[in-house]
Amino acid sequence: MRDFLELVVSATASGCVYALVALAYLLMTRPTGIINFAVGEWAMVGAFGGFLLLSRFPIPYPVAIGLVLLGMFVVGGLTERLTVRPLVEAGAPPLAPILALLGMLVVFRELISVSFGPDPQPVPPAFGFGRLELGLLAGSHQSFFIIAVTAVVFTGVWYFFERTLAGKSFEAVAIDRRAAALMGINLRLVTALAFCAGGAVAGLAGLLVSPNVSAHYLMGLPLAIQGFTALVIGGVGRVEGALLGGLILAFVEQFTVRYAPVPPGLAMGVPLVLLIGFLLLRPTGLLLAREARA
């Protein structure tokens, strides 16, 4: 029982990280149709932001989070302005910005690799490396912190889309770009803000996970794959889908390793089997978008 409950906390924390990366994908994909595989590298940049602000030039944690969010908001916006918008305005095929962003993935990774070197860098956790026990549940301080921050982010994003006029305009663009434009919604602004928000959320995911995995230049790709898998499981249409997908993925990963009678090498393939299964059997993911529910 102790193992089970410890693993619930651990899997929830990992699932929250995957969910944040999936949310970053979703924020950009919903209104624009563009899949940005560089989100993993953005998470890496966020992690290195944490290294700079918390390890090298230590400042209070809340200020560091704010600065990382702000910095990644700008990185997201600049990426859109420099690589996506010129292609969209030139009438390039839909695949072109996706490929350009794949190129940016390499640019971000090499910039970090050249700037910080190949060695992993330490990022301290928000409340130290201790263990916290809440009744029967037990886990690291950072695990509980990740869960709490993710809950706040998802609540905020859900509120934005469901309860605010600006959020409704994003939803309108997601449902029908042309109709939204005819209604006077500024598509260019929505696209730019989608990338800014995607950058901030991905950077936050990197910052939160970095005390566990350290900040290193190869950390982005696994996060991009895990986030994408979570997105496919949960569905691209709804914010809650990203959270659900992240949690399902992490629980399947960790409970398979712990309890399934499969060799350790094969357990690693289970999430990929899950991804393929969803793509084949339920490509829309678990939660359908609003127009599909109507």
Binding site: D119, P122, F129, G139, P264
Partner: protein, 384 residues
């Protein structure tokens, strides 16, 4: 008019000579190729090894070079990819390299051997530890001086002999070298009659090692052997070990000897036993550390020593061969005995006796124990 013409002609001649000077330099140098990983998964390890080799070349050139000629190090990046590594080896052979050093992943070095086997260009890896590099291909032009994985486990077991472990757990990650090291550790343990009761893998990119460490905790193993070679996953393992309150002794492969753990796994290292091939007290090692610090202003560690030893060993073979003829250099390298290396414990040396092509002294590894976050003194040497 004639004077003006002569002046112009002299100027043209001078400029031409200046332009041709580097070419002339290149023709008079001894070219040694080095294949390294500048962007791929081995970069973190390959970079310091390459820096050690570059320092060695600089030191040799400052002393007058080799056979009266300067050494020119030609560096190629294989990105840790086997196919690219073979292409890089071909490029170095075409560029006139008389010897090739491989400072990349074990599979990449394996693939580069296909070129040196065919072209007969002498080839050495100073840092790879895979046991199979000299056994899977019968390449008489290839040597290995990195400490083998089997030597690491034998040294650790020698140290742990009086601990009387019966049941142990193994944990690794899924890189090629991590898997290979794990395979040789497992073989060494089973050969010693020790039962492996739990064997776990933490995949690269994991965000936790909790489920794997829970299984190890449930296995009630007497000790835990860490065989992975990637720092983030090893740090995850150590973090989970502390968080989950495991108490069994931890014995780790040489990867735990690199200094980055002092920052990445700060507060998690106390009592971890690890094998190393670097004893800062050894005279050759001390001399290397002082020279490197003086030259570069930075403190070297064990990985730099591998690269330094590699290039110095190559230079030694060329010197003994008296030429850069590849047959003579190959024979000289194979004849190496008692080479006083930076790496290895006190009294150990490199040599390729009895036709072997693995040069690291099987009694040359040392065992050290972390004291807090600092690497403690040598507590055990060799396999005796």
């Amino acid at each position: 008019m004639k004077q003006v013409f002569l002046m112009k002609a002299r100027s043209v001649l001078a400029v031409s000579l200046m332009a041709l000077a580097p070419l002339a330099f290149a023709q008079n140098t001894i070219r040694i190729g080095m294949i390294t990983d500048k962007v791929g998964p081995a970069k973190a390890f390959a970079e310091p090894v390459a820096q050690g080799a570059i320092f060695a070349a600089r030191e040799l050139n400052a002393r007058g070079g080799l056979l009266g000629r300067q050494i020119e190090l030609l560096v190629e990046d294989d990105q840790g990819k086997p196919d690219v590594s073979a292409t890089a080896a071909r490029k170095l052979v075409d560029a006139g390299a008389v010897f090739i050093l491989s400072v990349s992943l074990t599979p990449a070095t394996q693939q580069a051997q296909s070129v040196t086997l065919e072209t007969k260009v002498p080839h050495l890896t100073p840092s790879n530890s895979g046991d199979t590099l000299t056994t899977q291909i019968a390449n008489p032009n290839f040597w290995q001086t990195g400490p083998l994985a089997s030597t690491q486990i034998a040294t650790l077991l020698s140290y742990a002999r009086n601990k009387n472990y019966k049941r142990v757990a193994l944990i690794t990650e899924n890189s090629a070298l991590g898997q290979l090291t794990n395979q040789f550790f497992k073989a060494g343990l089973e050969k010693s009659g020790i039962q492996v009761v739990s064997e776990e893998v933490v995949p690269g990119g994991s965000t936790t090692a909790d489920p794997q460490m829970q299984k190890i905790r449930a296995s009630n193993a007497d000790a835990l052997f860490m065989t992975g070679v990637t720092v983030p996953e090893n740090a995850l393992i150590l973090r989970a070990y502390r968080q989950l309150g495991l108490k069994m002794p931890v014995l780790a492969n040489y990867n735990l000897s690199i200094p980055v753990y002092a920052t990445i796994a700060k507060g998690l290292l106390d009592g971890v036993v690890f094998v190393d091939a670097f004893d800062p007290v050894k005279a050759e090692t001390r001399r290397f550390i002082d020279g490197y610090k003086k030259d570069t202003g930075t403190e070297p560690f064990n990985l730099h020593g591998y690269g330094y030893d590699g290039l110095m060993l190559v230079a030694d073979a060329i010197r003994r061969a008296g030429s850069t003829d590849k047959d003579k250099v190959r024979d000289a390298m194979q004849a190496t005995r008692g080479y006083q290396s930076v790496m290895g414990g006190i009294g150990s040396s490199y040599g390729f006796a009895d036709g072997r092509r693995t040069g690291f002294d099987t009694n040359g590894m040392v065992v050290r124990v972390y004291e807090g976050d600092l690497q403690g003194k040598v507590v055990h040497v060799g396999q005796k």
